[in-house]
C-alpha cells in the first residue's frame, strides 16, 4: 500500500512539474514585463531597465530555458521569484491564501450542507411542487454568472442599507471602521463577509442540491431500499438510512476534493468585494505582466487540486467499504 501511495504521489509530482513548467514557458514568453518600463514617462535608461530585468530574472534577452533554470533552482529552495518592482511572490501568496480561505470557508460549508439537505429532500419529492420550485431556483442560479449574482446582491444590499438606515452590509474589503464594544472586530469582519458568503452559499446550494438530488434518485430506486422497507422500516427512515447514506459517498468525495481548493479562492467574488485573495492575485499578475506571480498562482492551484484529489481518495476509502478493502 505504501509503495502504491508513493507511486501515486510521484505521478502527481510529475504532473505538477509538467504543468508548472508549461505555464512558466507560456508566461515567460507571452507576458512582457519590459513593456511596463517602456511606457514610463519620462523614459528610463534602457541599460538600467535591462539591469532591473536581469536582477529579477525577467529579461527576455536571456534564453528562456536559462531563465527557467534560474527560476527552477530558486523554486527548489522555496523561492518563487520577484516582480519587476521587487515584490516577493512568496510573501504575497502567504498572505493572500488566508484571505481567500477566510472569504470562502463559511459560504462553501453552508452551501454544501444546505445543498445536500435540499437535494436529498427534493429527490424524495420528485416532480412535486417543492421539487419543481427547487429545480427552477437552482437552474436559475446556475444559469447566472457569479458576476451577476454578486452585483444583484450588491444592488439589493444597498437598497436594504438605505431603507433600514443601518449599515448592516459592508461592501469592500475584509475590515473597516469598527466600534469599541467587545467583539467589535469580529462583528466587523462578519459584516464584510455577509454578502460574499450569501453569494457563495447560494451557488453552493444550487449546484450541490442538483448533484445530490440526482444521486439520491439513483439510490432511491435501488433494490436495497426496497429490502429495507421489506424489513419493516418506514419509507422515510429507509430513505434516510439506506438511500441517503449510500448517495453521500460521491458528495463526501467531492467535498474532500474541494477543501484543498478553498485556498485558491473565488476570483470574481474577491474582485467585486475587494478581498485581496489568491484568485485576484492571479488576474492582476497577468494584467501587470508579472511572470513569477502568474506561475506561482498556477502552481499553488495545481498543488491544491492534487491535494484535493488525494483527500478525495482518502474520503472514498473512509465512506465506501467496497473501496476500503480492495
Amino acid at each position: 500500500m505504501g509503495k502504491y501511495l508513493l507511486r501515486r504521489l510521484l505521478n502527481y509530482a510529475i504532473l505538477l512539474f509538467v504543468a508548472v513548467t508549461l505555464t512558466y514557458f507560456l508566461a515567460a514568453t507571452q507576458l512582457n514585463p519590459r513593456g511596463l518600463f517602456e511606457v514610463r514617462n519620462p523614459p528610463l535608461d534602457p541599460a538600467s531597465i535591462e539591469a532591473t530585468l536581469l536582477q529579477y530574472n525577467l529579461s527576455d534577452r536571456v534564453p528562456v530555458h536559462e531563465r527557467w533554470w534560474t527560476w527552477f533552482t530558486g523554486v527548489l529552495q522555496g523561492d518563487w521569484g520577484y516582480t519587476v518592482d521587487g515584490g516577493h511572490v512568496n510573501d504575497e501568496i502567504k498572505r493572500r491564501m488566508w484571505v481567500s480561505l477566510r472569504l470562502v470557508t463559511v459560504g462553501s460549508i453552508l452551501g454544501i450542507v444546505l445543498g445536500v439537505a435540499l437535494g436529498a429532500w427534493t429527490a424524495t419529492r420528485q416532480y412535486r411542487a417543492s421539487d419543481r420550485a427547487a429545480t427552477v431556483g437552482s437552474l436559475l442560479i446556475l444559469a447566472t454568472p457569479v458576476l451577476v449574482i454578486a452585483t444583484v446582491l450588491t444592488i439589493l444590499a444597498t437598497k436594504f442599507n438605505q431603507a433600514s438606515g443601518i449599515r448592516l452590509f459592508e461592501f469592500t474589503g475584509e475590515t473597516g471602521e469598527r466600534g469599541t464594544y467587545p467583539l467589535a472586530a469580529l462583528v466587523d469582519r462578519g459584516q464584510h463577509l455577509l454578502l460574499p458568503t450569501i453569494a457563495l452559499t447560494l451557488i453552493g446550494i444550487a449546484s450541490y442540491s442538483r448533484i445530490q438530488r440526482n444521486l439520491m434518485l439513483d439510490t432511491l430506486g435501488a433494490d436495497y431500499v426496497r429490502t429495507a422497507r421489506a424489513k419493516g422500516l418506514r419509507k422515510q427512515k429507509a430513505v434516510m438510512k439506506h438511500a441517503l447514506r449510500t448517495a453521500l459517498i460521491p458528495t463526501g468525495t467531492y467535498f474532500a476534493f474541494s477543501v484543498a481548493t478553498l485556498f485558491t479562492g473565488a476570483t470574481i467574488t474577491e474582485q467585486i468585494f475587494t478581498f485581496h485573495g489568491m484568485g485576484i492575485y492571479g488576474v492582476q499578475s497577468i494584467q501587470q505582466q508579472n511572470v513569477h506571480g502568474t506561475v506561482a498562482v498556477t502552481a499553488f492551484a495545481g498543488v491544491c487540486t492534487l491535494t484535493g484529489a488525494v483527500l478525495a481518495d482518502v474520503m472514498v476509502a473512509i465512506l465506501d467499504p467496497r473501496v476500503r478493502l480492495s
Binding site: Y4, R7, Y224, R229, K231, G232, R245, D320, P321
Partner: protein, 702 residues
C-alpha cells in the same frame, strides 16, 4: 436452536390454518402506452408450513403479486380485491401499519442478492436492524442472534462473517444472508421472488435447501415465485400458473405436473428440455408471444397461441373451472375434452419435423475437424490500481484444455460461472494465439496467421450468437442493416446482400417485410432469431453459441432450440454450444465437456457422460439440476457441494476440485495424497468418455 428470542411467541394461527388469504386481487399501473393490468383476479389461500409456487413467464404478473402482498408496490399502482393476513385485511393500511408487519410477519427474499443488500453496512448490521425494528432488544443480543441466524443458513464462521460487507460475500452467501434476514423475526409468510435465478445450479441447490430449512424452523407459509418448473417440482406443495396477469391453473403440484388441464400449462411442460429424457424428440413449441397486458384482446389471453382454440375462446375469457378434482382449477373452456383423453403436449401442440444431417451418417473420425484446441491456456494478469496499474497475481482463466469439434457436430461446454467457458469461446473467436497451447481452426493454426486480412477471411467461417438478444443487436440499426453488416464487411455485392437478407429472414422464421424494423420492436425470441440470421449471413461452418437460450422465456426457448437443431441439419453446421443449463445441452449436443476452474474434468459423448458420469463434479452438477417431475424430485438424492467456486486467481493445489469434492471427503488420509499433489489427467473411462479424477467411479444421479 430456537427462533424465538424474546419469548413473545405471536398468537397467529387462525382456526382454519390459513395464514394468508388473497381474493380477487387486481393490480393496475399507469404507463406511457396505457394502463398496465398486471394482475387480474388472483385468489389463493395459504396455510402455515405450506409452499405455494407462482409460475409464469416475464410479464405474467407474478412479481407484482408479491410486491402487492408486501405493500411495496409503487404508489401509482391501483389495487383492488382483498389480501388478508390471519383474517385481517391488509389492503388500505398505511405505511406505518404495514411496516409493523413487514419483516415481522411478512418477509421477503429478493432475486438479486447483490443489489438487495445495502453496500455500506455490514451483514450483521443489516440483520440486527431487522431485529431491532420489531423487537426491543439490546444491540449485543441482536448481534448474537444475527450470528445464530447466519449459522442456521450455513455461513461458515458466522462470528467473523457477521462483520463482513455484502460485496465480500459470494452470490450464494448473499442469498443465504438474505434468507437469514427474512427469518430473523420468525415470520408467518415468506415470499421468495425468483430466489435462485441469479445463481449457479450447484448454489441454487444449496439455497433451496436453506430455504426449506428456514421454513421448517419458522413454520412459515412460503410463496415461491419462479419461472423454473424444475424448482417448482422439487419445492412446492401447490402451484398457481399465471399467464398475462391471470391465474390460469391452480392445484396440487402433482396434479399440475401429471394431469394439467390448461393448454398453456401443458405446452409449458412440454417445451422444457428434460435431463431425464430418454430419446431426443423435438420440443413443444408455443407459437407467438405472450400478449401485452396493456391491450388485452377479448376472450382467453392464450387463445392466439392455442392449437385447440375455438371461436368462443376469442370472445369469452374462461374462469377457473373446477376440474375432476374441485381443488384443481383450470381456466380453459375445454378442460373436459383434455381430461377425457388425458391429452399431453404431443396431442395438442404440433411437433416440428427435424431432419437429420447428412453428415451424421459418416462416422465421426472420417469427418473433417472444424476446431481443435490443444492444451490451450489463457492467463490474465490480475491488476490493481488506477494510474499505475500493478500486477498482483495471475488469473488462470483457462488452464490447458483440449477440445475437438468435427463437421456437423455440436459440442456442449458446461460449467458454473467462472469456470472458464466464456474465456474459451472468446479465445476461439479472437483468432489470436492463446497464452500457451494452440487453436486450430479448419486446419489453420492461429499462431501462423499473419495480419488482419487472413484473420478476417477466417472469420467468415466462424460466427457467434450471444446470450442476451437485446444486448447483441445494436438498438440503433434496423434489422436489415444488422443482418447485412457482416456481408458489407466482407464486401458482398449490394444486390446480393438484398437477396441474402430476405433469404436469411425466411430461414430463421421471420417475416422479410419486417426488415426495416428496429430490434426493440421484436420479442426476445425473435431477436435471438435475428442474431442467428446475422451469424448465418456469411455461411459459416462453425457457430459459437454463448448461452443462446438462457435469457429467453421457457415457451420461447423451445422454438429457438428447435430452430438451431433444424439449421444444423439443413446447413451442415457445427456448434460450440456454451450453456449452464445441462438439460438444454443434453437436448442439443452430441458431445459435452464439463469445465471446472479452467480445466475440463469430464468429456465425451453426451448420453454417455450424463447417464454414466464418473467425475464427482459432473455428478454433483447433474444432481443439482431440478427435473420438472415432482415424484422423481422427491425420490432424488441431491449431492450438495460445499461452498463456492474458488478464485481462478488462487486455485487449490493438486486436483482443483478437491476443496469441494464429496468423494475427497470420504477418502482416507493416504488416499487423499494424489488429490492434494497432482492434477489428474483425463483417464479413459468408456468409449469416447474421459474423466479427470484419481478415483473415477460411476454414479447414477438423474
Amino acid at each position: 436452536m430456537s427462533i424465538d428470542v424474546t419469548g413473545d411467541r405471536k398468537v397467529r394461527r387462525t382456526q382454519s390454518g390459513t395464514v394468508l388469504s388473497v381474493a380477487d386481487l387486481h393490480v393496475t399501473f399507469p404507463s406511457e402506452a396505457g394502463p398496465v393490468r398486471a394482475v387480474r383476479g388472483l385468489s389463493f389461500d395459504l396455510a402455515a408450513g405450506e409452499t405455494m409456487a407462482i409460475v409464469g413467464e416475464s410479464g405474467s404478473g407474478k412479481s407484482v403479486t408479491s410486491l402487492a402482498v408486501m405493500g411495496l408496490h409503487p404508489d401509482t399502482a391501483k389495487i383492488t380485491g382483498s389480501i388478508k393476513l390471519h383474517g385481517e385485511e391488509l389492503l388500505g393500511r398505511g405505511d406505518a401499519a404495514m411496516s409493523n408487519l413487514r419483516g415481522n410477519e411478512l418477509a421477503m427474499v429478493f432475486q438479486d442478492p447483490l443489489s438487495a443488500l445495502t453496500p455500506v453496512y455490514t451483514i450483521g448490521d443489516q440483520i440486527t436492524e431487522t431485529i431491532q425494528i420489531h423487537r426491543d432488544v439490546s444491540r449485543s443480543a441482536a448481534m448474537k442472534r444475527a450470528v445464530e441466524l447466519l449459522d442456521l443458513v450455513g455461513i461458515p464462521s458466522p462470528q467473523l462473517r457477521v462483520k463482513s460487507f455484502p460485496h465480500e460475500f459470494s452470490g450464494g452467501m448473499r442469498q443465504r444472508a438474505m434468507i437469514a434476514l427474512a427469518i430473523a423475526n420468525d415470520p408467518d409468510v415468506i415470499i421468495a421472488d425468483e430466489p435462485t435465478t441469479a445463481l449457479d445450479v450447484t448454489i441454487q441447490a444449496q439455497v433451496l435447501e436453506v430455504l426449506k430449512k428456514a421454513q421448517r424452523e419458522t413454520g412459515a407459509a412460503v410463496i415461491l415465485i419462479t419461472h423454473d418448473l424444475g424448482v417448482v417440482a422439487g419445492v412446492a406443495d401447490r402451484v398457481t400458473v399465471m399467464y398475462a396477469g391471470r391465474p390460469v391453473e391452480q392445484g396440487a403440484v402433482d396434479e399440475i405436473f401429471y394431469t394439467p388441464r390448461m393448454p398453456y400449462t401443458i405446452g409449458l411442460l412440454g417445451s422444457v428440455p428434460r435431463l431425464d429424457a430418454d430419446v431426443k424428440e423435438p420440443l413443444a413449441t408455443l407459437q407467438g408471444n405472450p400478449p401485452s397486458v396493456v391491450e388485452l384482446p377479448a376472450g382467453c389471453p392464450f387463445a392466439p397461441r392455442c392449437p385447440m382454440v375455438q371461436d368462443n375462446c376469442r370472445v369469452i375469457e374462461p374462469p377457473l373451472y373446477p376440474t375432476e378434482n374441485p381443488e384443481h382449477t383450470a381456466a380453459c373452456h375445454y378442460w373436459a375434452d383434455i381430461a377425457a383423453e388425458n391429452r399431453s403436449y404431443r396431442d395438442i401442440f404440433p411437433l416440428p419435423d427435424i431432419p437429420t444431417s447428412q453428415l451424421e451418417r459418416i462416422p465421426r473420425d472420417q469427418r473433417r475437424t472444424v476446431l481443435q484446441l490443444e492444451g490451450m491456456q489463457r492467463h490474465y494478469p490480475l491488476m490493481k490500481g488506477a494510474i499505475f496499474r500493478r500486477r498482483v497475481g495471475t488469473v488462470y482463466a483457462v488452464d490447458g484444455i483440449d477440445l475437438e469439434i468435427k463437421e456437423g457436430e455440436t459440442l456442449g461446454l458446461v460449467g458454473e460461472s467462472g469456470c472458464g467457458k466464456s474465456t474459451t469461446i472468446l479465445e476461439v473467436l479472437q483468432l489470436k494465439p492463446p497464452t500457451a497451447g494452440n487453436i486450430v481452426v479448419f486446419g489453420k493454426d492461429v499462431r501462423g496467421i499473419n495480419g488482419g486480412r487472413e484473420r478476417k477471411s477466417l472469420r467468415r467461417d466462424i460466427q457467434v450468437v450471444f446470450q442476451d438478444p437485446m444486448a447483441s443487436l445494436d438498438p440503433r440499426m434496423p434489422v436489415f442493416d444488422i443482418i447485412a453488416e457482416p456481408l458489407g464487411v466482407h464486401n458482398v455485392a449490394k444486390a446480393e446482400v438484398e437477396r441474402r437478407v430476405v433469404e436469411l429472414l425466411e430461414l430463421v422464421g421471420l417475416e422479410p417485410s419486417h426488415a426495416s424494423r428496429f430490434p426493440q420492436q421484436f420479442s426476445g425470441g425473435q431477436r435471438q432469431r435475428i442474431g442467428i440470421a446475422r451469424a448465418l449471413a456469411l455461411e459459416p461452418k462453425l457457430i459459437v453459441l454463448d448461452e443462446p437460450v438462457s435469457a429467453l422465456d421457457v415457451s420461447i426457448q423451445a422454438g429457438v432450440i428447435n430452430l438451431l437443431d433444424e439449421l444444423k441439419a439443413k446447413l451442415g453446421l457445427s456448434y460450440l454450444f456454451v450453456a449452464h443449463d445441462l438439460a438444454v445441452v443434453q437436448h442439443i449436443a452430441d458431445r459435452v465437456a464439463v469445465m471446472y476452474l479452467g480445466n475440463i474434468v469430464e468429456i465425451g459423448e453426451v448420453s454417455e457422460v450424463f447417464r454414466h458420469p464418473t467425475h464427482p463434479y459432473t455428478q454433483a452438477l447433474l444432481s443439482a439440476i431440478p427435473i420438472p417431475d415432482p415424484r422423481k424430485e422427491r425420490s432424488r438424492e441431491r449431492i450438495l457441494l460445499k461452498g463456492d467456486l474458488p478464485s481462478p486467481a488462487n486455485p487449490p493445489s493438486g486436483c482443483k476440485f478437491r476443496t469441494r469434492c464429496q468423494r475427497f471427503a470420504t477418502l482416507t488420509e493416504g488416499e487423499r495424497q494424489p488429490c492434494l499433489e497432482t492434477m489428474p489427467d483425463l483417464y479413459v473411462v468408456g468409449q469416447d468418455h474421459n474423466s479427470a479424477c484419481h478415483y473415477n467411479e460411476e454414479r447414477q444421479v438423474v
